[in-house]
């Protein structure tokens, strides 16, 4: 009995350690973002411990007023939402077709989609750079919507295809017997049922597109066109001294929508991530 209790205690200690390791960095950055520059450069110690002696929100104001962070934030929202919407639209139909309409070569197509999901993204930047240069769309956020599909389409298509495989086929057959065509049945019967899965796919797509750095740093050059992650990196590089409270305020801001999504939809995210990883 004593041994079992000891084991339980050890287990919960392990859980606590994991939670602290996962979340403490966020606390530290939040703490830094609420300090003044003088406090940050004074270092840790004395009154300035794990909880700083005095807090100020000036970094959060400066990040918008001095650094104009709203612009890259808006850019990020545009591309992430754009990529999510395009993905959802295209992947829902494809997922349905791959699950239901006996296409020849469906297995090969699914294999290709999976393979594309593992494609080294760095191997895309050279040719796409040349293409965008020739088209005159370098340093423009909109083409990123298409580029980000390499992150979002594979997982969304697989996820939705696996979902449609589980929807009872009788549902549609009933509609079709009633005289509805495939497409009407799809719209009236299947899509409403699929909304939760589409939602899950949408959340994952948004996170994946929101988090991109590689393509942004390859194709965007001037601040007004930066996405938020790229802008944060330039905050640090533009000065001789690194102003951590400023950078960390931006980091906190970028993390908030993601943290909210995780808290609000953790179950969905977990099932979404694992759907189709092996079967």
């Amino acid at each position: 009995m004593r041994r079992r209790l000891g084991r339980e205690a050890l287990f919960y200690l392990g859980v606590a350690v994991v939670i602290v390791v996962a979340l403490f960095p966020f606390y530290w950055v939040l703490r830094t973002s609420l300090e003044s520059n003088a406090q940050v450069s004074a270092g840790v110690g004395g009154a300035n411990g794990i909880v700083p002696s005095h807090l100020s929100g000036s970094a959060f104001v400066n990040v918008f007023t001095q650094q104009n962070f709203l612009r890259p934030l808006i850019n990020s929202v545009i591309v992430a939402l754009g990529a999510t919407l395009v993905t959802i639209f295209v992947a829902t139909f494809a997922g349905y077709a791959l699950a239901r309409l006996r296409i020849r070569g469906a297995a090969a197509i699914l294999g290709f989609i999976l393979l594309a999901g593992f494609f080294p993204v760095l191997a895309m930047i050279g040719p796409l750079f040349l293409l965008f240069k020739n088209l005159g769309i370098l340093d423009n956020v909109y083409p990123l919507i298409i580029v980000y599909l390499v992150y979002t389409l594979p997982i969304a298509t697989w996820l939705l295809r696996n979902f449609f495989e589980q929807v009872p086929i009788e549902l549609e057959e009933a509609a079709q017997v009633d005289g509805a065509t495939r497409l009407t049945a799809l719209r009236r019967v299947v899509v409403p049922v699929a909304i939760p899965a589409v939602f899950t796919a949408g959340i994952l797509c948004f996170i994946l597109a929101w988090n991109d750095f590689t393509f942004a740093v390859s194709f965007l050059y001037t601040f007004p066109h930066f996405t938020a992650p790229l802008a944060i990196v330039t905050f640090g590089q533009s000065q001789f001294q690194v102003f951590y409270s400023l950078i960390d305020a931006a980091v906190v801001i970028v993390s908030i929508p993601i943290a909210a999504l995780v808290l609000f939809a953790q179950r969905r995210i977990v099932t979404g991530l694992t759907a189709g990883s092996f079967r």
């Binding site: 392990g14 859980v15 994991v18 390791v21 979340l23 960095p25 966020f26 530290w28 950055v29 940050v40 450069s41 270092g43 295209v90 494809a94 077709a97 791959l98 309409l101 296409i103 290709f112 989609i113 594309a116 593992f118 494609f119 080294p120 760095l122 191997a123 895309m124 050279g126 040719p127 750079f129 298409i146 389409l153 594979p154 017997v177 005289g179 495939r182 988090n211 750095f213 590689t214 740093v217 390859s218 992650p229 790229l230 990196v233 690194v242 951590y244 950078i247 960390d248 980091v251 970028v254 993390s255 993601i258 943290a259 995780v262 953790q266 995210i269 977990v270 991530l273 990883s277 092996f278």
Partner: protein, 310 residues
């Protein structure tokens, strides 16, 4: 189906076959956008890289003809000390990262597979590092390892006075790697753990009960039951994590920019630098082609190993 055919007596062919054909046509139409879009962003660049890699194509040497070079870009790459050093570094980083992350992720997955109060909290806590952008994970650890803004040096200083103001990034090669490795594992272990957790959850409970009845120890159960049944998930996790480590770029660009010197440049970093900074699309193409080849070899290798071992 039969009633449907009877509804439409004018059809010359049997309606079922007719519908299958219509369905198939509709199917291709619905799948086509995904396939075309993915081909456009992967296959097209790949072909273009192969083509460019066989030519001289450097934008900074404007005016020079894009003449055919054969494999000379590849021989430049293979003989370049920068490339060979980056290859060695990348492989070393990959081996260490994959082993460490898989072990920790497996432990985490086993933890999450138990039913206990607070499981939801644990799951949400580990999802956050996965979900935030690499810029965030890189900056978090950069802040914590900073001599002023961070706390690592403060605690190390308590152990040894000389360690109280260590510069971690871009000062010493191995300290830079320690920070990169820490931040990278912190961010990527959760996803591996989630994949493994899904693998654990499909293992039926009865098997464990049978093992317990037979008097198997916890270790025996893990060795003989859990691990073999976890193989498909382990394979997915290994392929995923290995490719990710092999292609590591963002975190290095953000944390060290490849420095100090060139000592944290990886293959992907070199690939980026050759394209974007040197605008050498011939040599860059060759490096990109090698990245794809490397990724294919690794995935194929894993699939082979796991097939033969089951």
């Amino acid at each position: 189906m039969v009633t449907h055919a009877a509804d439409r007596p004018r059809d010359s062919r049997p309606a079922a076959g007719d519908r299958a054909a219509t369905d198939r046509r509709l199917g291709y139409l619905l799948v086509a956008p995904v396939v075309i879009l993915l081909l456009a962003v992967t296959a097209l660049p790949l072909i273009s890289n192969v083509w460019n890699s066989l030519h001289s194509d450097n934008l900074s040497l404007a005016g020079q003809p894009h003449k055919f070079l054969g494999v000379s870009n590849y021989s430049t790459m293979f003989t370049s000390p920068l490339w060979t050093a980056a290859l060695e570094r990348t492989l070393a980083f990959t081996v260490i990262t994959v082993i460490f992350d898989m072990v920790v992720a497996l432990a985490l997955a086993l933890m999450l597979n138990r039913k206990f109060r607070g499981r939801g909290v644990l799951r949400a806590a580990i999802l956050v590092p996965w979900a935030v952008p690499t810029v965030v994970s890189a900056t978090l650890w950069k802040t914590m390892f900073d001599p002023r803004a961070g706390f690592v040096d403060y605690f190390l200083g308590a152990v040894h006075p000389a360690w109280s103001s260590l510069t971690w990034l871009n000062a010493s090669v191995w300290r830079s790697w320690v920070v990169i490795f820490t931040a990278d594992s912190w961010k990527n272990i959760p996803f591996v753990a989630i994949i493994l957790l899904a693998g654990l959850q499909v293992i039926p409970n009865e098997i464990y009960e049978a093992a317990r009845v037979d008097g198997a120890s916890a270790w025996q159960t893990f060795r003989r039951l859990t691990l073999p049944m976890l193989k498909p998930a382990l394979m997915v996790a290994l392929i995923f994590r290995t490719l990710q480590a092999l292609l590591v770029f963002d975190i290095i660009y953000i944390m060290t920019g490849g420095g100090p010197g060139n000592s944290t440049e990886t293959l992907s970093f070199l690939n980026f630098y050759t394209f974007i900074n040197n605008t050498d699309f011939g040599l860059g193409g060759a490096i990109s082609v090698m990245l794809v080849v490397l990724a294919l070899i690794v995935s194929w290798g894993y699939v082979r190993v796991f097939r033969t071992s089951t």
